[in-house]
């Protein structure tokens, strides 16, 4: 119980730091918000007036305070690019990206874990070499390149799946999955490579431990030893790595979503960056960082629930 409270306080502190970093980065911007709203040819006095009314001449601390206050009360400002309130804009997009992230993680884990276990079990033999090589190849191709290949194969040549667009899953679930599948696959292949290697190395470490020898000496067949005794011990470290990869995924979706014109958070962030839409940049970057941090928190808590050593502390 005490641990949870401490963790929560820790989370709040980190969110605070994240907000400072976000605000800090976007304010080194050598661009003029006022000019962006009104256009570069505008009347200097009108620009000055707008700057004043937007509070751009106030000290940074005050501007920060205003921004943070707005975030906390739900007023996330208006996007310069879309001319819409930001909060609802983000809400939709988070759902869309969530779908891709979950789908790709699920595909990756489902493939990586068995593959990694198989490789570790047949260490240094052909099974190991094959899976390691495949993993390495997957790791080495940029995911946007994989995405392009997938588009070429499935959309352009075979025409099985759409190459762009997004469908709201609450309206049309199947359609949503169809559109999410290629982007998720593109992400999953690179992810799977990394997770396979992690699983393999975690399993190899575990198979070297004393309790595995004891289990074999007890007369348990090797299949039981690997899958029932060793693997559950590997889930923890693999899960931790998977959690860290979520952070990496949220970076990759910026590229992938743009590639597939899939309108999620990544796509939104990219549009914001391209067009120097500062309020939108601030909000999207903050949300992504916050989500990554919360996911890591969730993974950590899950780990504590699973591992009896920590659970009973």
């Amino acid at each position: 119980m005490v641990y949870l409270v401490n963790r929560l306080l820790s989370v709040v502190l980190t969110l605070f730091l994240i907000s400072i970093v976000t605000f800090g980065i976007t304010n080194i911007l050598p661009g003029d918000v006022a000019m962006m709203i009104m256009g570069t040819q505008s009347n200097p006095e009108a620009l000055a007036g707008l700057r004043e009314s937007l509070g751009l001449n106030d000290p940074l601390i005050v501007q920060y305070g205003r921004w943070i206050g707005g975030m906390l009360t739900g007023d996330w400002g208006e996007s310069l690019l879309f001319r819409e309130p930001i909060a609802p804009l983000i809400q939709q997009k988070v759902l869309a990206s969530g779908l891709i992230v979950l789908l790709s993680m699920a595909i990756a884990l489902a493939l990586a874990i068995p593959l990694g276990v198989w490789a570790a079990r047949h260490r240094d033999r052909w099974q190991d070499t094959t899976s390691s090589t495949t993993a390495l190849l997957g790791l080495s191709m940029p995911d946007f390149f994989i995405g392009i290949m997938l588009i070429l194969l499935f959309a352009a040549t075979l025409g099985w799946l759409p190459s762009s667009g997004f469908v709201d899953p609450t309206e049309d679930f199947l359609g949503a999955v169809r559109h999410a599948l290629l982007p998720s696959l593109a992400l999953a292949l690179g992810l799977m490579a990394h997770l396979t290697r992690m699983t393999r190395s975690a399993m190899m470490g575990i198979l070297n431990q004393e309790f595995i020898r004891v289990a074999r000496a007890k007369g348990l067949p090797e299949r039981t030893v690997v899958w029932r005794y060793a693997l559950p011990n590997a889930i923890g470290p693999v899960m931790t790595v998977a959690g860290l990869q979520i952070g990496y995924l949220f970076g990759s979706i910026i590229v992938i979503e743009s590639l597939f014109s899939y309108t999620g958070m990544g796509w939104l962030t990219y549009q914001a960056l391209l067009n120097r839409d500062i309020p939108l940049i601030q909000s999207t970057v903050f949300v992504i960082a916050a989500v990554v941090m919360l996911v890591n928190l969730a993974v950590d808590l899950l780990y504590r629930v699973i591992d009896p050593r920590i659970r009973l502390e």
């Binding site: 190849l137 590229v255 391209l274 992504i288 960082a289």
Partner: protein
């Protein structure tokens, strides 16, 4: 030493050597104009005797572009990783060696920074500073710093607890000498491995940034830009994407293999 002769090591070394050779030597043999010269009559040509790897949509020789692109990618990656080391190494060592309050504060900040996906940080910094060659290096360098600082800190923590550090302290070694004689040499192996792997990611990151238009700008020959340009012509001229893509894959694969081999060689002995 046998580990250096394994298939993995040989392939890794060879690939990296090839890419390095191309990066260094290509500019000497291929005049820069060949990469930027637009021959409108020879647009989107498939690979042929004259154009070994074909041409792109502006009639530029893809072979030249991809070879010269090696220099761009490797230089940016190397400088970016170098920058992350220059920033991250001192941070990590101070945090890990001195511990206490300093470590607590630094780690909280690093943790917060690590919540930002590296690519996102790089993109944001690049967008803010204005995308060009130098800013791409700075953006990727800054984005990779927190992770490197973390790794260095971890290693420093491990080394600080070793009996030989205690022995040196008992022998009267001062902090400065301690760091130089004992801490640095013992974190070097892990740092070398991490630097190699970071190089692979930096090449990837530069390609992604350029692909999105927030990295190197045309008419530079950069693999990411080449892939981006090829998007529209995928169905009629797939080689325009395959050529730079393959180059990227070879480079990243070679660096990853090298990092793996280095890890196998350097880590078990130290541990």
């Amino acid at each position: 030493m046998r580990k250096f002769l394994s298939a993995k090591a040989l392939i890794g070394f060879t690939l990296v050597a090839i890419v390095l050779a191309v990066a260094v030597l290509a500019p000497l043999f291929i005049p820069a104009e060949r990469a930027t010269q637009m021959v409108m009559t020879a647009r989107l040509q498939p690979p042929s005797f004259e154009y070994l790897l074909g041409t792109d949509q502006l009639g530029r020789d893809l072979f030249a572009r991809v070879m010269l692109g090696a220099q761009t990618s490797l230089t940016i990656a190397a400088l970016a990783v170098g920058m992350s080391i220059v920033l991250g190494l001192p941070l990590g060592i101070i945090s890990g060696y001195f511990g206490g309050r300093v470590d607590n504060v630094l780690m909280r900040i690093i943790d917060a920074l690590l919540s930002f996906p590296a690519l996102l940080l790089a993109l944001t910094i690049s967008a803010i500073l204005g995308p060009n060659l130098q800013n791409t290096i700075i953006a990727i360098g800054i984005a990779f710093t927190p992770f490197l600082a973390r790794i260095v800190r971890g290693e420093a923590l491990r080394v600080v607890q070793m009996p030989y550090v205690e022995a040196a302290r008992a022998a009267g070694t001062r902090d400065g000498a301690m760091i130089i004689r004992h801490i640095l040499p013992n974190i070097m192996p892990a740092l070398i491995v991490q630097a190699t792997i970071s190089l692979a990611f930096a090449v990837l990151a530069e390609a992604a940034l350029s692909f999105l238009g927030l990295g190197t700008q045309p008419p530079m020959a950069s693999w990411g830009l080449m892939i981006q340009a090829s998007r529209q012509f995928l169905d009629i001229a797939p080689w325009t994407a395959l050529v730079p893509g393959a180059a990227l894959a070879i480079t990243i694969l070679g660096l990853n293999l090298l990092g793996d081999v280095l890890r196998d060689v350097l880590d078990p002995r130290v541990r």
